[in-house]
Amino acid sequence: MTPKREAATTAPAPTDGTRGTAAPPLLDATDVRTAFHTPRGAVRAVDGVSLTLSEGETLGIVGESGSGKSVLGRTLMGLITDGPGTTVSGTVRIGGKDVHALTPAGRRALWGTEVAMVFQDPMTSLNPVKKTGTHLSESLRLHLGLGRADARDRAVDLLRQVGIPEPARRAGQYPHELSGGMRQRVVIAMALACGPRLLIADEPTTALDVTVQKQILDLLRSLAEELRMATILISHDLATVAGRTDRVAVMYAGRLVEYADTAAVFDRPRHPYSSALIASIPRLDLPPHTLLPAIEGRPPNLLHPPAGCRFAPRCDTATDRCTTESPGLTAYAGERDAGGLVACHHPLGAAEEAAV
């Protein structure tokens, strides 16, 4: 978007999705743990997650409600930090800077310009008494030091870029005068305003109509490609992640259970949880009134998570080892390309692959 950014992104250029190049990754999170201290004990919402993301790469984080997706997103960004009531450990580096070691002012300088977030509910993530144009121009003036008129022009450009018709008129309107889809476009424009290199979209389509969902997801994808921006797409909906991300991290009870290329996960899931999730997607070719395969039981209480594998109580293939020894996230051997990781003692083999 800006000349500076073009130069920065063209240099390493890992375009084919392979990792392990000499350039440091844009996002490098190691053993991130976030715990909230409640009167009943510590809730470990994120429990040892490691992720890397290169320039221009797209990562999907999926998992059911309460699996720690949003907390992970906010911890990666530094919105949740170590403090009274919260413990954050591990390191998160964005563009080489340790987010959690920065001063609050240092973090604020990072937000908007390096990393930005698209929030879930466009009804509440816009200030009801501020015009849409003001939402955009304020951060432009804050971070880029633009003048009043320049910021307004840039705000109108941004609104046009996210596909809002009549951007000049819309910039003068209040959020309640816009539809839900329009508002989410404004929220996206806000996140894009200062040209971040990493965009974290936290369930950006949950509050929207199905037809609008597709538009917003396509918009996010095309903008990410156009601006060569790395994107983390957090969702509980596998379908939103399926065709739109390079890699997928499946989360369960605060941990990553599978972390691999999107096609590989959907094609041949290795973790029983991923497999069960994919199996529970409704399919058009099934006869009407077919019961969807559901996962029995409920997610564990994060106050007292089970020992061993957290999915073991709900897992069909669980053995005694699963209930005592916690599986690490390890690469699986086999015919698949390198880079796929799974946390399971008994990853699904060829027989299950054929069944799915």
């Binding site: 929030f119 993530s125 009801p128 008494v129 501020k130 971070h143 959020p175 309640h176 806000m190 996140a191």
Partner: protein, 344 residues
């Protein structure tokens, strides 16, 4: 198809005519009741009140024809009264008013002259021959100046404290909460009397004491509103865009808190006009001969009110109309702003 067409009701006589007729009859009755010296006082009042009622009904009909069914005649009367009073106060030195405070120059003037609505003393004179219209207008100057500045001070200070308490919470909020509650625990009139014994009774000090009364309410409202908005996602969104605490307070929360706080402020003006009048009535506010509505009403003490009711009724009417007008306008403003924030 004809069912869908709006039914045109050909009313006879048309509402415009009824409205105009009612208004004219009302106005005539009002003027007749007020200016006819032959009638006894209760009869005058009855005729004038009847006229006022008819005038309001007529004006309401006229307004509805002119501005649609949403026309609120009481609001417009309130607004018109405030405008008229404001203009009269500003222009008081240039208006042809009789003497309002110099007792030496009114030796030749009639004492306790009753209101005639005409001539040199339209609203009558007091025990010293001072003109009641002039005194009411100059009294309005100090009454309104005191209450407006007290409300402004209370709103700014109370609003700021409340927002800070609501945003930072924890220990700041606890300290503010204790201070607010202890201020609320003292009966307001006792507090005012206590302050009046310590402070010189001039304009600035009275305004300061009254501002102290408005602060707890403002703190509570601003604190509650700030808390409600501080948990909304747009505050997190602003933070995620790199906004600091000051920016969030001023740019994100202040515009949201401003609307309810200003609505309360308008209503508070009328409360303080009454409070100032009470203070002056007790002799703790502005001192005579400097007129205020409160010390003018205080002149009716003893047997004066029984023999010359207009001494109390004239400033009382000014007080009543002004407080009423501020309330009506304030309510309207709050209704308008509240409905907007509810819609969002």
């Amino acid at each position: 198809m004809s069912d869908l067409a709006p039914r045109t009701r050909t009313a006879f006589p048309p509402p415009l005519l009824i409205g105009a007729a009612l208004a004219v009859v009302g106005l005539v009755l009002l003027v007749f009741g007020a200016t006819t010296p032959q009638l006894v006082t209760p009869a005058k009042a009855a005729v004038a009140l009847l006229g006022l009622g008819l005038l309001l009904a007529g004006a309401s009909r006229l307004g509805k024809v002119w501005a649609g069914p949403g026309f609120d005649v009481v609001f417009w009367f309130g607004a018109a009264w405030l405008l008229l009073l404001g203009l009269a106060i500003l222009c008081a030195p240039w208006l042809p008013l009789a003497e309002d405070r110099d007792v030496a120059s009114t030796v030749a003037e009639p004492v306790f002259a009753t209101p005639t609505f005409t001539g040199g003393h339209p609203l009558g004179t007091n025990a010293f021959g001072l003109d009641l219209l002039a005194r009411s207008l100059y009294g309005a100057r100090s009454s309104l100046l005191i209450s407006l500045s007290a409300v402004a001070l209370g709103t700014v200070v109370g609003g700021a404290i409340g927002m800070v308490a609501g945003y930072f919470q924890k220990s700041v909020d606890r300290v503010v909460g204790i201070a607010t509650n202890s201020l609320l625990a003292v009966p307001p009139l006792i507090l005012l009397i206590a302050l009046a014994t310590v402070l010189q009774p001039h304009l600035r000090n009275v305004a300061f004491s009254l501002a102290l009364l408005t602060i707890p309410g403002m703190v509570r409202l601003a604190r509650a509103t700030t808390m409600a908005y501080a948990n909304r996602e747009f505050v997190v969104a602003a933070r995620a865009m790199g906004a600091g605490r000051t920016r969030i307070l001023l740019r994100e929360l202040l515009p949201n808190v401003l609307l309810p706080v200003l609505s309360l402020a308008v209503v508070m003006i009328s409360v303080l006009v009454v409070a100032e009048a009470s203070l002056s009535f007790l002799g703790l506010g502005i001192q005579p001969p400097e007129p205020t509505w409160g010390n003018m009403i205080a002149e009716g003490e003893g047997r004066v009110f029984e023999e010359h009711p207009h001494i109390v009724l004239v400033p009382g009417a000014f007080l009543f109309l002004t407080v009423f007008a501020f309330n009506v306008v304030g309510e309207k403003a709050r209704g308008r702003w509240d409905s907007r924030s509810v819609k969002l």
